[in-house]
């Protein structure tokens, strides 16, 4: 699902350059009408994109026990129920735990691999890269069913470790892509300069390479977090009675009892995603990291 990354690159470019395409003042009435129609059309499409997500917010604060829009009164009841329900709490914590661990492992594994892909040479590199990226393209249902089939006999289904492995595998391609892009932008003479200054390979990596690719690594980490936290397909199949992610719990509740609590949970998920992406945005804007 590379458009995420595509976007990350595109916005960075946008931030860098400052060419604004000012649409020319259109003189004739026809042009004016055309512009208004086009603008209206685009507005409609944007509403189609945004509204379904936006309406969940007022809904999660609605007072009626069935879903209604617009809500008649406002309440935090559904958030209260979400927080007090031990099932939801357990699922949320389980998901958070998995997502954080996945972020860590995918970032480390993906960064190491990206270095090997960009700077190293070994036989079968091309094939290996293709396999690394394939979880982004292969239908997640196939992966989910396969992982369940393979992990169940090993008692890994519904377990933290099982999720960690599966989600790391799903998240690693994002890290590899962002870090590879960052490494390709990195000037390798800096590395030679560090070696020349007396730093070994490892010191060079931590003192010179890593600080300069940190935005790529951070983007990869954020994408990895979301790839795990928002992931529903593998979670649906791999969850057990005990180990249940927030997405699996939501899946079940949507199917069986569609209460406004789900709206509240949806808001929590969405806000989490937006916060994490916002944090990344702030981080990438900061040109220089604090030193020493």
């Amino acid at each position: 699902m590379s458009p995420d990354l595509e976007f990350a690159l595109a916005t960075r470019e946008m931030a860098n350059e400052d060419k604004s395409l000012v649409s020319r003042n259109s003189r004739s009435l026809w042009k004016c009408l055309g512009a208004v129609t086009a603008g209206f059309l685009i507005l409609l499409i944007l509403l189609f994109l945004v509204l379904p997500i936006v309406i969940i917010f007022p809904m999660s604060f609605g007072s009626a026990s069935y879903l209604e829009f617009p809500p008649r009164g406002l309440t935090l009841r559904w958030y209260g129920q979400y927080l007090s329900d031990p099932d939801w709490r357990a699922a949320t914590l389980f998901s958070l735990k998995i997502a954080l661990a996945t972020t860590l492992s995918a970032t480390i594994i993906g960064t190491l691999a990206a270095i090997a892909f960009v700077r190293g040479s070994f036989p079968g590199k091309g094939l290996f890269q293709a396999i690394t990226l394939s979880p982004m393209i292969i239908p997640h249902i196939v992966i989910a069913v396969a992982v369940f089939l393979a992990f169940a006999p090993l008692n890994l289904s519904g377990s933290f470790l099982g999720f960690l492995i599966a989600h790391t595998m799903l998240a690693v391609p994002y890290v590899v892509l962002t870090v590879v892009a960052a490494l390709q932008r990195f000037d390798t003479t800096l590395e030679l300069a560090a070696l020349n200054c007396g730093a070994g390979r490892i010191r060079t990596f931590f003192s010179v390479v890593l600080p300069n690719i940190r935005v790529g690594v951070a983007s990869g980490a954020v994408f990895a977090f979301l790839a795990s936290f928002d992931e529903a397909t593998v979670a649906f199949f791999l969850s057990g009675i005990e180990g249940k992610t927030i997405t699996r719990k939501m899946f079940e509740d949507i199917d069986f009892n569609l209460t406004p609590v789900i709206a509240a949970v949806s808001v929590v998920l969405t806000v989490t995603s937006l916060l994490v992406m916002g944090a990344l945005h702030v981080f990438s804007r900061n040109p220089v990291p604090a030193q020493r």
Partner: protein, 373 residues
């Protein structure tokens, strides 16, 4: 603040060879750089200068040969263990570190104490005249300032050898000249051995104790600037350093103590026999510097001189440059450089003139050599 004092060491390259996938990029290069010497590697782009420097720095390993600093064989030593400072072409300053942090980096790698490091960094900053810039980031500095930081970083750990790869090529002419003096001053003061890569012959001649001329991966000649200029070992060096007229000719025999080379039916030049070990009839290349030619209004042709017609006479400030078409050689022009001496030149295009070259200033090269160059 303590003074920075360094002592240079010798750098010895023995029969160095380097191939990149079957192509020989450096071929059988041997150079012995003296301790404290400023040696330039000079050659056209692609001649293997950078590759040679990379091997001294340790980023590439030679396929054959030996590199040593002092008595230490460093041929296969890891680059971070070599203790050889390097200034890169585009400075290669760490963009995420301040000037002070950049300069302190080699000290940190050597586990120098904080206080000591601070003193050394201050001393280096003073040496490169950047006292007020310690807390700037590299991208907040001009090109020349970045260059100074790079020099300071390369020297802060007091390496006996400093390598520089076309360090001034990104700067404009004026700044380049200032920096040349600056680098010389620092090198003189520290006594560090410098191996300096450049493709700018003027830069090499003005800065170096000795210059090593490279072409196509091979070492052409090593020598003091004045030797390269006046006693080039081959036609390539002769042509690469300073201006040079090359003329095809035929060896026709002796005249007294001098060899006579025929350029055309009517034109000959003479040169000392010592530089001609040819048989009669052999084709040779004659090389004469523009300032070694004298041009006079036509009279009797002295032996060893030839007639020509002035094509152009240009005033270039310190001298006149006169282009003369040689009598009997269609389309071929020699360039002469005559001192201006305040007077105006009594020559205009179309004048028939006598061109004369002092035999001692004429050099002969074999035909093949010229082709190779």
């Amino acid at each position: 603040m303590r003074r920075v004092i360094l002592k240079g060491e010798t750098v010895t390259l023995e029969k160095i060879e380097k191939n990149f996938a079957e192509t020989a990029v450096v071929r059988d290069v041997s150079i012995a750089v003296q301790a404290g010497e400023f040696l330039s590697l000079l050659g056209p782009s692609g001649s293997g200068k950078t590759t040679l420097l990379m091997m001294i720095a340790g980023f590439e390993a030679p396929n054959r040969g030996r590199i040593s600093v002092g008595t230490r064989d460093i041929t296969f030593e890891a680059p971070n263990k070599r203790d050889v400072g390097m200034v890169f072409q585009r400075y290669a300053l760490f963009p995420h570190m301040t000037v002070a942090q950049n300069i302190a980096f080699p000290l940190r790698m050597r586990r120098c104490s904080r206080a000591q490091a601070r003193d050394r960094v201050d001393a280096m900053l003073a040496m490169v005249r950047l006292e007020g810039f310690a807390d700037r980031l590299p991208q907040q500095l001009s090109g020349g300032q970045q260059q100074r930081v790079a020099v300071a970083r390369a020297l802060v750990a007091e390496p006996p050898v400093l390598l520089m790869d076309e360090p001034l090529s990104a700067l404009d002419k004026k700044l380049r000249e200032t920096m040349q003096l600056e680098i010389k001053r620092i090198q003189k003061r520290l006594g560090v051995t410098v191996v300096y890569v450049t493709h700018d012959q003027e830069e090499a001649l003005t800065m170096s104790d000795r210059v090593a001329v490279m072409a196509d991966g091979e070492l052409m000649q090593v020598g003091a600037p004045i030797d390269l200029y006046h006693r080039p070992a081959n036609a390539f060096v002769a042509g690469f350093i300073g201006k040079m007229n090359f003329l095809e000719g035929e060896y026709i025999g002796h005249d007294g103590g001098e060899a006579v080379i025929r350029l055309s039916q009517t034109a000959t030049v003479k040169c000392p026999t010592s530089s001609a070990t040819a048989v009669v009839g052999q084709r040779l290349t004659v090389a004469i510097r523009p300032e070694d030619l004298s041009v006079r209004p036509s009279g009797d042709v002295r032996p060893g001189g030839f007639k020509g017609r002035v094509e152009a006479a240009l005033f270039v400030g310190a001298a006149y440059v006169v282009l003369v078409a040689i009598d009997g050689r269609a389309g071929e022009v020699v360039e002469a450089r005559l001192p201006a001496n305040g007077g105006s030149l009594p020559l205009v295009p179309g004048d028939i003139v006598d061109v004369f070259a002092e035999p001692s200033a004429v050099r002969l090269f074999s035909h093949q050599q010229r082709q190779a160059a």
